[in-house]
């Protein structure tokens, strides 16, 4: 990574005895799109608020452009913030709301109008310029907040679940628009979301939060395919977490014995010692279901299984299997629709798709 533009250096935030963010390091490059993903209450908003200057860190330093910004008041930080609850000014029209940052920066009136119109067009609210926020739907208010935070083209934009209230279609449209804007203006965006697919599709990097700490930070690909912890594997997408004891380990990986007695091969963890208990993450879509073990059975794992449940999801079927005492979730192609609960099948998967995670 190039020289970090924003750096959290061992930042801790505590309210009294209650630590919300603990010893956090985070480097963000200029122009990067970083998503913060994590369960409710994990400290994502707190992190944004420390960066925007509304909450001082209890310990540690927040550094932007190689300068500590602890002493810089919020109104001089030049960061656009989209608040989780919109924070629109109820006594001003939509246009006045969007013009507010321009007004504060002394942009001449004539230019203001043009910039406001453009920002409102971007969020498809040109027709609502004269309404009051209370006359807008939640999604429309959210888009006004977005327009307001972007209209002055700040170097850094902090977004706290900016698309939470939008329907799927508008949400996807806005995701594209934000991505586009990010590229075009070279914005540095920190984007808080609950929606993992949103994080996966939009971000350069994702930081997964848990209890005030970053569990893992990496590209969407790394986070999805190579989660380092049990929490991350479970939080991002659906996964099967298999606990097992190492029987043997060799150069190509290790052999694991599952609680039901079944052995599987895992193409990782060759330096782990035998006898240790480890956890393996196996994505449901990596499991193939068939009447027999299939072509790659010689190198792969295959477990005879009973289908417990099968749920139709449109593009796939979500199967719950009992694989010799191990509960497995598999995503099956629709042609397996004839596999009724109770029938038998063989679940096979590659050792390379089994990923060791820390618990």
């Amino acid at each position: 990574m190039t020289q970090p533009y924003i750096r959290f250096d061992k930042v801790t935030k505590a309210y009294g005895d209650f630590t919300v963010v603990e010893d956090l390091y985070l480097d963000i490059a200029k122009g990067e799109f970083v998503s913060l993903l994590g369960p409710s209450g994990s400290g994502k908003t707190t992190l944004l608020m420390m960066l925007a200057g509304f909450e001082p860190p209890t310990r540690g330093a927040v550094i932007v452009d190689e300068k500590r910004i602890d002493q810089l008041p919020p109104h001089r930080r030049n960061m656009g913030v989209v608040f989780q609850s919109y924070a629109l000014f109820p006594h001003m029209t939509v246009a006045a709301n969007v013009a507010f940052p321009l007004e504060m920066r002394g942009v001449p009136k004539a230019d203001r109008k043009q910039l406001v119109d453009r920002a409102l067009d971007m969020v498809q609210l040109g027709a609502m310029a004269d309404r009051k926020p209370s006359q807008l739907s939640g999604g429309q208010q959210q888009r006004v907040a977005l327009a307001r935070a972007l209209v002055f083209e700040p170097a850094v934009v902090l977004m706290d679940e900016p698309l939470g209230a939008l329907d799927k279609q508008l949400r996807e449209q806005m995701q594209l628009d934000i991505r586009d804007l990010h590229k075009r203006l070279g914005l540095t965006i920190i984007f808080v979301t609950h929606d993992q697919s949103e994080a996966l599709t939009m971000s350069d990097r994702i930081a997964v939060f848990n209890k005030g700490r970053i569990e893992q930070i990496g590209t969407p690909n790394e986070i999805y395919d190579h989660p380092t912890t049990r929490f991350v594997a479970d939080f991002i997408g659906e996964t099967n977490l298999l606990d097992g004891t190492i029987e043997t380990s060799d150069a190509s990986g290790l052999t694991l014995s599952l609680p039901g007695g079944k052995r599987i091969r895992v193409a990782a963890g060759s330096n782990e010692a035998a006898g240790k208990t480890v956890t393996v993450s196996l994505r449901p879509e990596k499991i193939r279901l068939g009447a027999d073990a299939g072509p790659s059975s010689s190198s792969g794992n295959s477990i005879p299984a009973t289908i417990l449940d099968s749920v139709y999801h449109g593009d796939h079927l979500r199967m719950v299997l009992d694989a010799e005492g191990t509960r497995l979730i598999a995503k099956a192609d629709r042609r397996f629709g004839d596999l009724q609960p109770g029938s038998k099948a063989v679940a096979s998967f590659d050792p390379a798709d089994c990923w060791l995670v820390r618990s």
């Binding site: 608020m49 925007a52 200057g53 509304f54 008041p73 919020p74 109104h75 001089r76 930080r77 030049n78 960061m79 656009g80 913030v81 608040f83 609850s85 924070a87 629109l88 000014f89 109820p90 006594h91 507010f100 940052p101 504060m104 920066r105 009051k132 209370s134 307001r148 935070a149 002055f152």
Partner: protein, 392 residues
Amino acid sequence: MSIACGKRLAAFGLVAPLLLFLVLFFVWPLVTMMSNAVSDPGAGRALPQTAAALSNWDRSSPPTPEMQAALVDDLRTTQDDQLIGDLTRQLNSARSGFRTLMAKTVRTVREEQGAVDLVQVDQRWEDVSFWQAIAAATASPYTDRNLLAAIDMARSPTGEITALPASASANLAILQRTFVIAAGTTLACILIGFPYAMVAASVTGWKRQVMLAAVLLPLWTSLLVRTAAWFILLQDNGLINRLLQTLGLIDAPLALLFNRTGVIIAMTHVLLPFMVLPIFSVLIAIPTNLLPAAASLGAHPLRAFWRVLLPLSLRGVVSGSLLVFMAAIGYYITPALIGGPTDQMISSVIAFYATGTANWGMAGALGIVLLVATIALYVVYDRLSASGTERA
């Protein structure tokens, strides 16, 4: 149908005690006082035929024989001396000389039978101004005399409304003073109450409780006690003066008692809750993230206050001001105890007429003036707040 009817009856039964109470202790006294203020003490009742005869007189041409005959008739038929006495007093206050004229006329008219030429009885009956006074007095059973007097006006003999000379009445001056004192109190309440409410809304937990209790506490103490307390505090050797002297801020005690400063200090203290509470309730309803949002958009805290917090809390300031002002213009005890002679407010004049001279008409009229001022204020406020909610 009958169930709905029964329900409505039951509902009515529930509010009936309140309605009855309101009618008995609010509407009825109000109506009585108002009718006192505008009803005529007797001219119309004593002189019904004269009233009819004068109704189409142009009030400037010489008196006609019909008018004279009607008056003679009325004076003969009206046997109630009390009524005649009231009438005479009323007419005399409008045109001096009526007392002797009436006494003489009534005596003559009652002694003689048949038609009487009034001019023969007294030359003055040729004078148009006496007839004008009767015409004005009998024009209707209602009179605007009290109401006009309440705002230092009177009707001239020809019926036009004119201002009284400054020496004759001081009601307008006192009314104006009342508004000035009330406005001063309101301003002081805003200046103290707004920052106070802001602090109270920004702290939490026990601090907020303490701050609110400190405002509410005076409300639970009797007004008289509070005013008496200020009486003691504001004395030349009272707590405030001694504190200021001890601190070396002043050499001689400040005059705080029996003047306007003292009145406004005490009234501000008494009325402060009515300012703080509405502002506080508006402030805590303002979402907490608006000021951070303004800051993130580049607004200096002062500008954020000016552009965001102040406009949003204005509704509370306006309703608080209205409450304080309306309560203040009716104040009586505090100016009476703490103010000097030039700080008495309109209520003390009302009290003077009501309890001092038993002139219920004037008391009622001044009350009406106060009521009208209050209602006018309320209408303005209502308009403002209605357009405010439309915009919000």
